[in-house]
């Protein structure tokens, strides 16, 4: 069985090489049958990698500890759920998942473009399969998942306990669906550059792909944040850790691309910039995988240490070099069709949005790479801590948030300043009044006040947009307010889906602001029966019990939480010791509510059952996760196929209009 998996991987490697060669040859010789053959090879790669996945999964479920991979990430005692998740819990499996998703995406692209974009397709195939080759080469040569152990152990080591969390089961696939997804826009960009088909057609073909990749990456990042929050036990969800940054950077450039691409679609401008963003996003996705997988940077969750680094860097240098060379070659053909009509227009506000996003990306990149650079130059590894990132990114982030409120109020092409002033009036008033109220209620943190003010302003603009749109829709088509509202969204899914995403972003900012400006952290030492007051919560420590599970031993504290004399909940923070890895972990006890999260970790305990608790009160974190859900909803609306407006009918062309009035026509 394992031989079949190994052979399938090898066959996939050969098929991918064949696909690249025959696709490029087909493009050169203009032979459709060669390109079709390359497509078949792409399907073949998908099929073969799927076989490999199934074989590994089978080996995991059958506890086939002959395989080094199976022995290192699973054990007999692990619940089946985590045994399945162990498929991507280790280095090889993780890369296999990356590869499988890429192969799946490639197969979908082939199906979608059977009759479309034929001139782009050979290059698209070649690009996708080259990316697949990187992972295939590493899997076949360096990190073969079918490597056998000289001696078969009786049991495996089991999955890293930190990864044994339901969020960890869905976080990597989501993140990878995002990372890998950006390979498709990149492949089409290369296709457009190589074939010279530089009009907006390629942009249309990848619009949904980009949104899908962006959506999965967003979900992946948020899930990762939530995992860090509930599993790592330091009270927060984001630490500017290199691996977090690795997923955040392509998200930033991807977001910039989603916005600037609209200007290319509408006005034929920013063609070079968009190409650059697509290339950058793809490069950052690969770079992110490199950071996570190569162990080049110490990180709280760079789980891998390996010798893959040079492969990634070599590939990255090669592919970016080719992309940039193609871009330079096509520069003369990528001139803008139009100019900006006015500085006060949505186009120019999008430009600012792009500058902010790319600015944040460079700040994050600099902070992430600085330790490597400093080590290379001065021989000392200086790590860049959160204060640097916060100092740079808070103002940029708030500026960006403000722009997301301003943009919708500005018309395309040219906004009339008088209207602009009028449009700003209500959101600004709303923001001013409520911020003043917050101030009188005792909120004095300057950055928090500014952030809440901007959040309110953006919220106001979004409401105003929906209100005005619904009113305009109702004036045209009549019906009830609800009908007009639904029809408004249905006719402009992209625009209103986008606004809903913005609303999600506002909620996320509310969560970030509340939890970072007003977090309370307190250490309490309690004997059983004692209680302590943290913020408004009274925590009563009842007892400490010991429990033995199949893979770990747990010490569980029981805390009764009340407020103003009223019982709220009972929380059970745990300390665990995993047998297989001999690794202690801390399980967070969490009571979440829209206003405040009560977050308790048992830092330690003595034989007398006296325990030290680290208690955090994190305001408004709840809204971060809600914001994530709203973002998913908004993106789903934007992705949903839109009925095409003004389907152009032949008889409506100018010539025909002219002809009806031309000589000889009786009316």
């Amino acid at each position: 069985m394992n031989d079949i998996g190994g052979a399938a991987l090898l066959f996939a490697f050969v098929a991918a090489i064949y696909a690249v060669v025959i696709a490029l040859l087909g493009a050169r010789l203009r032979r459709q049958e060669m390109i079709r053959s390359a497509e078949r090879a792409t399907y073949g790669v998908f099929g073969l990698v799927t076989i490999t996945m199934v074989v590994i999964l089978y080996a995991l479920l059958a506890h086939d500890f002959r395989l080094q991979y199976v022995a290192s990430v699973s054990s007999r005692a692990m619940p089946t759920f985590y045994v399945i998740a162990a498929l991507w819990g280790g280095q090889e499996g993780s890369m296999l998942l990356w590869l499988w998703l890429l192969a799946m995406y490639s197969a979908i692209v082939m199906v979608q473009n059977r009759h479309r974009n034929r001139e782009l397709m050979p290059y698209v195939i070649a690009t996708l399969m080259t990316t697949a080759l990187l992972f295939l080469a590493m899997l076949v040569i360096v990190e073969n998942p079918f490597r056998q152990l000289p001696q078969v152990p009786r049991d495996g080591q089991g999955l890293n306990p930190l990864l044994q969390n339901p969020l960890m089961v869905i976080h990597p696939p989501n993140l990878y669906l995002g990372f890998v997804g950006f390979a498709v826009p990149f492949a089409f960009a290369i296709g457009a550059l190589a074939s010279g088909r530089l009009d907006t057609q390629w942009i249309r073909s990848i619009r949904r792909w980009t949104l899908v990749a962006w959506l999965f990456l967003s979900i992946g990042i948020l899930l990762g944040g939530q995992w860090a929050y509930v599993e790592l036990g330091w009270g927060g969800y984001w630490a500017w850790d290199p691996v977090e940054n690795a997923s955040f950077m392509p998200w930033l450039t991807g977001t910039a691309f989603l916005h600037s691409v609209m200007i290319q679609e509408k006005k034929g401008m920013l063609k070079v910039w968009n190409m650059a963003l697509v290339i950058l996003t793809y490069a950052l996705s690969i770079f992110g995988t490199f950071l996570t997988r190569s162990g080049v940077i110490a990180s709280v969750h760079a789980f891998a240490q390996s010798s893959l680094g040079p492969y990634f860097l070599l590939y990255l240098a090669g592919i970016v070099g080719i992309a940039v060379a193609l871009l330079v070659k096509r520069l003369p053909e990528l001139r803008s069709d139009h100019r900006l009509e006015s500085v006060v227009s949505r186009e120019s506000s999008f430009l600012f949005n792009n500058l902010f996003l790319v600015g944040i990306m460079f700040a994050v990149l600099w902070g992430t790479l600085f330790p490597i650079i400093s080590e290379a130059v001065r021989g000392v590894k200086i790590s860049v801590a959160a204060p640097f990132f916060n100092q740079v990114n808070i103002p940029l982030g708030l500026g960006l948030l403000f722009l997301s409120g301003v943009c919708p109020l500005i018309a395309w092409r040219k906004a009339s300043v008088r209207n602009l002033r009028r449009n700003f009036l209500y959101p600004l008033s709303l923001s001013f009044v409520i911020t003043a109220m917050l101030y009188t209620l005792g909120i004095r943190h300057v950055v928090a006040l500014i952030s809440f003010a901007i959040c309110l302003f953006v919220f106001g603009t979004i409401v105003l947009e929906f209100y005005r749109g619904t009113r305009a829709r109702r004036a045209v088509s009549g019906g009830t307010v609800w009908q007009a509202f639904v029809s408004l969204i249905r006719r402009n899914r992209r625009r209103y889906g986008g606004y809903i995403v913005h609303f999600g972003v506002v909620l996320i900012f509310v969560g970030i602001t509340g939890s970072s400006a007003y977090q309370i952290e307190q250490n309490v030492v309690l004997h059983p029966g004692e209680s302590a007051l943290v913020d408004t919560f009274i925590l009563q420590y009842d007892d400490l019990t010991r429990m033995i599970e199949s893979t770990y031993e747990a010490f569980i504290a029981k805390l009764t939480v009340s407020r103003n004399g009223k019982y709220l909940t009972t929380l059970y923070p745990e300390k665990r010791l995993y047998f297989a890895q001999n690794q202690p972990t801390t399980e967070v006890a969490l009571r979440t509510s829209p206003f405040k999260d009560l977050y308790i970790i048992m830092a330690g305990f003595e034989p007398s059952k006296t325990a030290t608790f680290k208690v955090f009160v994190n305001p408004l974190v709840f809204w971060m996760w809600m914001g994530g859900l709203v973002m998913v909803l908004g993106t789903a609306i934007a992705i949903w196929p839109e009925r095409r407006p003004y389907v152009p009918a032949r008889q409506h062309t100018a010539g025909h209009v002219e002809m009806t009035a031309a000589p000889g026509t009786r009316i």
Binding site: G44, A475, T653, A662, G664
Partner: protein, 150 residues
């Protein structure tokens, strides 16, 4: 490696080779279903659609009070001019429209011919351009001048 493993491996290899080789051997010319338009037409169609969307957006911005009347009028006229320009170019290269024009030209020729053959009866001249009219005409076939209230 068991015999079944070997059999599966062989099947995999054969499947791959046959699947990949089939298009090469068959050498059927895989014509894309959609008519491949030439570059000029395609680019014009894309530009046309871009303008339609721009007009739609402008109308919507006007309805939602982001553009005032003056700017709206100006921008709308400018976009319409651009759209007409693109449509004219499209007509010039569109074989369907070229064909339509030819048919119209021939019909007109035939009609003129018949008119002149029948000759005389109830003929008038257009007050605007002087072209020959038939009694049933409501508009001049040459210049479009309205001849009577319809």
């Amino acid at each position: 490696m068991t015999a079944i493993d070997v059999a599966i491996l062989c099947l995999m290899a054969i499947g791959l080779v046959v699947g990949v080789g089939e298009p090469l051997v068959r050498r059927v010319s895989y014509k894309p279903h959609e008519r491949e338009e030439n570059d000029a037409v395609r680019s014009l169609l894309l530009q046309k659609e871009m303008l339609y969307v721009a007009i739609r957006d402008l109308d919507f911005d006007f309805q939602t009070e982001k553009v005032d009347q003056k700017d709206y009028g100006e921008l709308r006229r400018q976009l319409e001019r651009e759209a007409v320009h693109i449509l004219r170019q499209l007509d010039a290269v569109d074989p369907l429209v070229v064909f339509d024009n030819e048919v119209e030209r021939q019909v007109l020729g035939l009609r003129r011919h018949r008119t002149s053959a029948v000759g005389g009866s109830g003929q008038e001249a257009c007050p605007n351009c002087g072209a020959t009219l038939e009694s049933a005409d409501n508009f001049c076939p040459a210049c479009g001048q309205a001849l009577r209230l319809v």
